[in-house]
């Protein structure tokens, strides 16, 4: 029996209303805030953003002419649906970074305002040559001259370090260390993110220089998973880089977003079968993911759920599922014009877990 439009509208309204999360109003009413929480957070965020802007402007003025800031509000992309979490996020941190196939990175700050664009580097423009820090405060990226760049999103300052050509940098969770592939030896190297001093490295090559190996720090910074030529290694991130385990034929997905926030599972790609799996760190049987729809690709974790990039260019969106790929739910729609999102990264605050990170 065909239903009327009004009946379908009623059902669709009920479905839409089901999206809202319940809350307890009585404690809020008892607290009797001076202003509504949302407006108060907006006011605090606005003040903090203004202060951050003043600091950024001051920093730019103090910079020498040979070190200009590369942060500039170049353009306002079309509306990007903003992902949110129920933790309080500080202005100046990126909530989410959309890395496009052209190499530009759009970083959306929790303080509101237009998304900031980082221009493509001259050396390698692929999306996987740069990565968002887990706390959303920095972007690590390859550079044309043989140094890495660590861009501070709050101040706009750039720290260049390394003195060698490094591929595919990934900041540790505490932003103190950078994991990067040495462009000459193709070994994984750990650098001090402040001084650029080499800390330790792997003994075996992890790249052939033709592409980025997938490097992913565990949430606690103790392990690094890196894949190359069908072999994936779990390395000790705080010791001498020794191999902890080998995971054959699998590679971590999307850098640090591969690790589940609890550090017990890794989202990986199984090349022989072409399937995505959730692999347990301790070697327990892994689960094979069913994609929520054709052409979708998992990017990482939001809490206990997996985030997928779905849709064709021009109508891409993010959808979350459970660990098996079931129960799809909308997360964010990307309105980025004719650009194609190659990958999306987000600060770990958005996983809904309170975290401590180095300021």
């Amino acid at each position: 029996m065909t239903t009327s439009y009004e009946d379908r509208l009623r059902a669709a309204l009920r479905d839409t209303a089901d999206e809202v999360q319940p809350i307890e109003f009585l404690p809020r009413l008892a607290a009797k805030p001076v202003a509504a929480p949302h407006r108060r957070r907006l006011a605090v965020a606005a003040v903090a953003a203004a202060l951050a802007a003043l600091v950024a402007i001051g920093s730019v003025l103090l910079l020498r002419s040979d070190r200009p800031s590369i942060i500039e509000p170049v353009e306002r992309p079309p509306k990007v649906f903003r992902l949110s979490g129920d933790t309080s996020l500080a202005p100046g941190r990126a909530q989410i970074a959309v890395l496009t196939s052209r190499g530009a990175v759009y970083v959306h700050s929790v303080g509101g305002g237009p998304a900031v664009r980082l221009a493509p580097t001259d050396w390698v423009s692929g999306a996987y040559t740069q990565s968002l820090a887990m706390d959303g405060t920095r972007v690590a990226r390859q550079s044309y001259d043989p140094r890495l760049e660590i861009v501070n999103l709050s101040s706009g300052q750039t720290n260049r370090l390394g003195g060698f050509l490094g591929y595919c940098p990934q900041l540790s969770p505490d932003n103190r260390t950078v994991a990067v592939v040495d462009g000459e030896t193709f070994r994984l190297v750990l650098l001090d993110a402040g001084s650029g001093a080499r800390l330790r490295g792997s003994r075996a090559p992890v790249s052939d220089g033709q592409g980025c190996p997938r490097i992913a720090w565990s949430p606690d910074g103790k392990l690094i998973v890196v894949s190359y030529q069908g072999e994936t290694l779990l390395l000790d991130g705080r010791g001498r880089g020794r191999t902890v385990r080998r995971l054959s034929d699998r590679s971590p997905v999307n850098g640090h977003m591969s690790w589940a926030p609890d550090g017990q599972s890794i989202l990986m790609y199984h090349q022989p079968s072409g399937r995505f799996v959730v692999a347990s760190v301790d070697g327990e049987p892994e689960s094979v993911l069913e994609a929520p729809q054709d052409g979708s690709r998992p990017l990482g974790w939001a809490g206990t759920r997996i985030v997928w990039l779905v849709g064709p260019p021009g109508s891409q969106r993010l959808v979350t599922t459970d660990r098996t790929g079931a129960d799809p739910r909308p997360w964010m729609r990307l309105e980025i014009g004719d650009r194609t999102a190659e990958t999306v990264q987000w600060s770990r605050d958005l996983t809904g877990r309170a975290t401590d990170s180095r300021p």
């Binding site: 319940p22 957070r41 949110s84």
Partner: protein
């Protein structure tokens, strides 16, 4: 005794808070804004609790306040991007991918309606109120309710076409 100490008020908020939040969500399309809308309406209800203590009157008062307050929120926050607070994950179980997209489309289409059209749609087709009840809630005539509903439906059809039911019936 303050309103917050009154068991009747506490019972009203506990029993009806989520229903009010669902309505507010359809009006605002945003978790945080919907929470603010309901809270603002409840705060006003607290101040007038003595005269609206009977639960039916209380709910009608809160709903009228929400619809009026929605105007203020809509004007203040008429920007495309807001720092929201809660991951918009619906609580429903399995929903196929295209139905997920339909929900996004309807939520956005609602936000493109004028505030009166949106209110009428929500009151008539979500709250299932009669035209007279809608008119009483919004303080307009029944004739205005009819014409506004007609225009709102036409506008929704133009924005998001036909809709599928949760059961996935064909369009």
């Amino acid at each position: 005794m303050t309103a917050l100490e009154d068991e009747a008020f506490r019972g009203f908020v506990a029993a009806r808070g989520h229903a009010l939040l669902r309505t507010a969500y359809l009006l605002t399309g945003d978790q945080q804004l919907s929470e603010d809308l309901v809270q603002a309406a409840l705060e006003k209800a607290i101040r007038h609790w003595g005269s609206i203590r009977e639960s039916a009157a209380a709910e009608a008062y809160v709903r009228r306040t929400m619809y009026r307050e929605q105007i203020s929120l809509w004007r203040r926050h008429r920007v495309t991007e807001l720092p929201a607070a809660t991951v918009p994950e619906p609580r429903r179980a399995d929903v196929p991918g295209d139905q997920v997209e339909d929900r996004i489309v309807l939520r956005d289409a609602l936000l493109q309606l004028g505030r009166r059209q949106r209110a009428v749609v929500v009151l008539r087709y979500f709250e299932d109120m009669t035209e007279q009840q809608v008119a009483d809630t919004l303080g307009i005539s029944v004739g205005t309710v009819k014409s506004t509903a007609h225009k709102a439906i036409a506008h929704l059809r133009a924005l998001c076409g036909d809709l599928v039911t949760a059961g996935g019936e064909p369009r």
